[in-house]
């Protein structure tokens, strides 16, 4: 793409300047570069191998097609990434899609994934990776953002002008703040601690597992090199116990849950990491001359494991919608408007559901009805799997409600019929 004048008359050094060379930023740079754009990819950390430390690293099945299109899946698998299905523990039993019907996500530790994606971005034609450069101001022209001002460790400042500025700088996006983008914050009632362990897989088939303990959560994600990432996401009342001794509390928490994973016979590798404050942040993903991707646009409760996947997907949606504008085939505003619609249509429903659950509240009757039915019926389990892996929108779950009611009703009536034949069932009481 040429660097001729934009429609507003600002001369651009780049077609796009991206702030943040983590998963979302690098993915956006790769996609834009392959579209023919000249891209500046700015990262404040100087180390090309830097990586995000507090992350479950689970990439949901919904994002796997994006990985394939970007050519990232194969290199990830070569680096040791593990494809896993997902199963969920509930007090009614396990929710597992039937064999062969479960959707597969990808697990690769961020210390391998981030450098891999960054290296691929740096090798993409048209992408200039600028490490050790912190964005500290936005350039504006006629009310629109037209680049960023960056500063290195020596304090040397450079102005990078671009048709499009992209904020890919995470949950606490400085670019969003500098651009005065309104942030809607949702309270979060949990905290998270996790660590990698070496030992037996948490599930018989080696799949990823979550425990919906109502309201507590736990998770186990098998990943590269035979490791398993174990995570506890309890409500805040339990924080003092974790602060007292994080490793002991993490192991106890995982060991004490029903159908516990084999954490007691596993060996911890590396340190226990934790994050205490994780407010969900929802931002308008565009402003004049600006787009936000990944957590900068939408950062939700990490326990749902959607952050990595949505970073990849939102980056692909942005690139797909603005490349024509960067080529001069249409106005940038039109491309950005399409991105905003796609972002909203794909993620808003999921975000509303997640934000509302992130308070740490107990399951409501509708959720209990659905989870119980999914644990009892393979068809509902399959649909639940599609929803949990974010492969379908929340509204698509409504189709299973009549079946869920019927399944639960059949279950409720079943024991009475059997009881008449056998007075002592030895079955649990309750629901």
């Amino acid at each position: 793409m040429d660097d001729s004048r934009q429609s507003d008359g600002v001369r651009a050094d780049y077609d796009a300047v991206i702030v943040g060379a983590s998963l979302a930023g690098c993915t956006t740079a790769i996609a834009l570069g392959r579209g023919g754009a000249r891209v500046a990819l700015v990262e404040k950390r100087p180390d090309p191998a830097a990586f995000k430390r507090t992350c479950s690293h689970f990439i949901q099945a919904s994002a796997v097609p994006a990985l394939e299109r970007l050519g990232l899946l194969e290199p990830m698998l070569e680096a040791g990434a593990v494809r896993t299905t997902m199963r969920a523990w509930t007090r009614w039993g396990w929710i597992e899609a039937p064999p062969g019907r479960a959707r597969e996500g990808v697990n690769l530790r961020r210390e391998l994934l981030d450098p891999l994606v960054r290296e691929m971005a740096a090798a993409t034609t048209g992408v200039d990776l600028m490490l050790g450069q912190a964005a500290h101001g936005l350039l504006r022209e006629d009310g629109a953002i037209c680049g960023v001002s960056i500063k290195n460790a020596q304090g040397e400042e450079t102005a990078l002008r671009a048709k499009l500025t992209v904020g890919a700088d995470g949950r606490d996006s400085q670019i969003a703040e500098l651009a005065w983008v309104r942030t809607k914050t949702w309270p979060h009632g949990r905290f998270a601690y996790g660590a990698y362990f070496e030992g037996p897989p948490p599930a018989p088939g080696g799949g990823s597992t979550i425990w919906m303990l109502d309201p507590q959560w736990a998770a186990a994600f098998p990943t590269d090199d035979g490791l398993v990432f174990y995570a506890a996401m309890p409500t805040k009342e339990r924080l003092p116990e974790f602060k007292r001794d994080p490793e002991r509390a993490l192991i106890s928490f995982l060991a004490d849950i029903p159908d516990a994973p084999p954490i007691l016979v596993s060996r911890k590798v590396g340190s226990v990491t934790g994050k205490i404050e994780m407010p969900n942040k929802v931002r308008a993903p565009i402003a004049p001359g600006l787009a936000l991707v990944g957590d900068a646009a939408l950062a939700v409760d990490p326990l749902f494991g959607v952050g990595c996947g949505w970073a990849l997907q939102s980056s692909e949606w942005l690139a797909g919608n603005v490349v024509p504008a960067l080529r001069g085939e249409e106005s940038l505003a039109d491309g950005l408007a399409r991105y905003r619609r796609r972002h909203r249509d794909e993620l808003r429903g999921h975000a509303l559901q997640i934000n509302e659950q992130a308070t740490g509240r107990r399951q409501n009757p509708g959720e209990r009805m659905l989870f119980a039915a999914a644990a009892r019926d393979p068809k509902i389990a399959e649909r639940f799997d599609a929803f949990a892996t974010r492969s379908i929108r929340p509204g698509a779950l409504a189709a299973v409600i009549p079946r869920a009611i019927a399944v639960n009703a059949r279950h409720a009536l079943g024991p009475r019929r059997r009881r008449s034949a056998s007075p002592d069932l030895g079955q649990p009481l309750g629901e």
């Binding site: 339990r238 004490d256 029903p258 002592d424």
Partner: protein, 276 residues
Amino acid sequence: MSAAAGLERKRLPLEGAQPRLIQAGPIDAPEAVVFVHGNPGSADDWAALVAALGGAGRRALAIDLPDFGETIAPPGFEHSAEGYARFLGEALQALGVERADLVLHDFGGPIGLLWAAAHNEALASVTLIDTGILPGFRWHRLARVWRTPVLGELFQAMATRRSFRTLLGRCEPRGLPRPFVEAMYDHYDWRTRKAVLKLYRATADPGSVGAGVAPRDDVPALVIWGEHDAYIPAAYAYRQRDVFPNAEVHVLPVSGHWPFADAPDTVERLLLEFLA
């Protein structure tokens, strides 16, 4: 859960009462793991755990408290925490137990802690299961019903097997195993129902029970609590460190008031790690 093999069941010859005893392991050992049940409850609550600890080489025993299980209280027995604590002391003396690792549940908590306060040197360790010191605790709704004259008697009179089962099931996050509930109801006869009314009416302030227990940083302690205990909030699990500063605390995330019934494997593992 381990099979309840190797259990010895017999009557303990005490003056005025012959409490039912379940015992396993080296029965002459002067140090024993002593299980004290709550309400409703009996020595049967602990059979599997007594067997597991016995199998691990520890002397382990559980007895019915008077007017619970199959044990009839002697004439003039005082149905109060203090009265039961005295009974526990007499039973342990008769059994030749010089040092005890107490495992307490529900009302067994105040009873055991009162005994421990009077026998400092005899307490080897304490395991508190949904019980312990309860500063500021006010009786739960069911206890308030029991404590109310006439209403308590009416409630007990109307406790049919079905209503008993329904009430317990509704208050537990995963329900309780049917045989456990059935056995509990089988023991919930009129004698036990009257004993429950007397015990709760003799205990006006549950928050003060155990208040006299001096902090013991020399006593190993294990606290196990069901997060969804409908009777005594799980927040009290961590308060046990007020008295036992070194307590290891486990709040089981999908358990209720009877973790040894709804999470038997976890409770057994924790007890064996702590005591065996």
